[in-house]
């Protein structure tokens, strides 16, 4: 079955602390992995995708096919990083259909 699991509903850290949002997936094939973010009162938007291997707003994510994980990391959290983060996967043959995890709310305290 195709599934994305985000084990933490809420993650609370202090400003300047490292943050890691966990994402595990189940997919029979070669998946495309994404992180989407939704800031307060804003629409859902793409943060990064594994295939582009880029760092956005200091966030990075590495696809680990052995552990079927795609954890999102940032070395020094900022208050403006507080948001809902969704991990999602798609793949060839899915036609762009995204399968989302339940989301993790990140709260960065001053």
């Amino acid at each position: 079955a195709q599934r994305v699991t985000q084990p933490e509903k809420l993650l609370s850290v202090f400003k300047g602390a490292p943050v890691e949002l966990k994402c595990n997936y189940s997919y029979s094939g070669s998946p495309e992995l994404f992180w989407y973010v939704q800031y307060s009162r804003q629409r859902l938007q793409l943060l990064l995708r594994h295939i582009s291997r880029e760092s956005i707003k200091g966030f990075t994510a590495d696809l680990n096919k052995g552990e079927t994980s795609f954890h999102l990391k940032k070395p020094f959290a900022q208050e403006e990083d507080s948001a809902m983060y969704y991990c999602a996967l798609s793949g060839r043959g899915q036609g762009g259909k995204l399968i989302f995890g339940q989301g993790t709310e990140l709260s960065v305290k001053p």
Binding site: L44, Y86, G96, Q102, G103
Partner: protein, 115 residues
């Protein structure tokens, strides 16, 4: 660029009433998606259009839900009759193409409350 436009933003209806949601995708985007987001959950795909053709409607509850994209641009999602469990956020997204490499751009959503 206004992005994906959805209306209404909020809707409150009584159960068994019909309701319709409208979506205008980003200009030039051929692919349009409708997602359902229940409280505390991630979005789930209801239907995907390539131009005016519904190419994936396997998760659309066809007994009460219907959708159309007549001219391959705007789309309407309808529920008739609405049930209490339909209370959720309905998201529309669009992309230039339909492959996983294409970025999906989401609208603000329509928040439906069924009483």
């Amino acid at each position: 660029e206004a992005g994906v436009v959805q209306s209404p933003r909020y809707k409150i209806i009584e159960k068994k009433q019909p309701v319709a949601f409208w979506c205008n995708p980003i200009s030039g985007h051929n692919t349009l998606y409708w997602y359902l987001q229940n409280l505390g959950q991630g979005p789930e795909l209801l239907i995907r259009y390539e131009n005016e053709e519904a190419v994936d409607d396997s998760q659309l509850p066809k007994d009460r839900f219907s959708a159309e994209r007549l001219k391959g641009v705007d789309s309407t999602l309808k529920i008739q009759p609405a049930e209490l469990g339909d209370s959720a956020v309905y998201l529309c997204a669009s992309s230039f193409g339909g492959g996983p490499e294409e970025t999906q751009y989401f609208g603000p959503g329509t928040r439906l409350l069924v009483l």
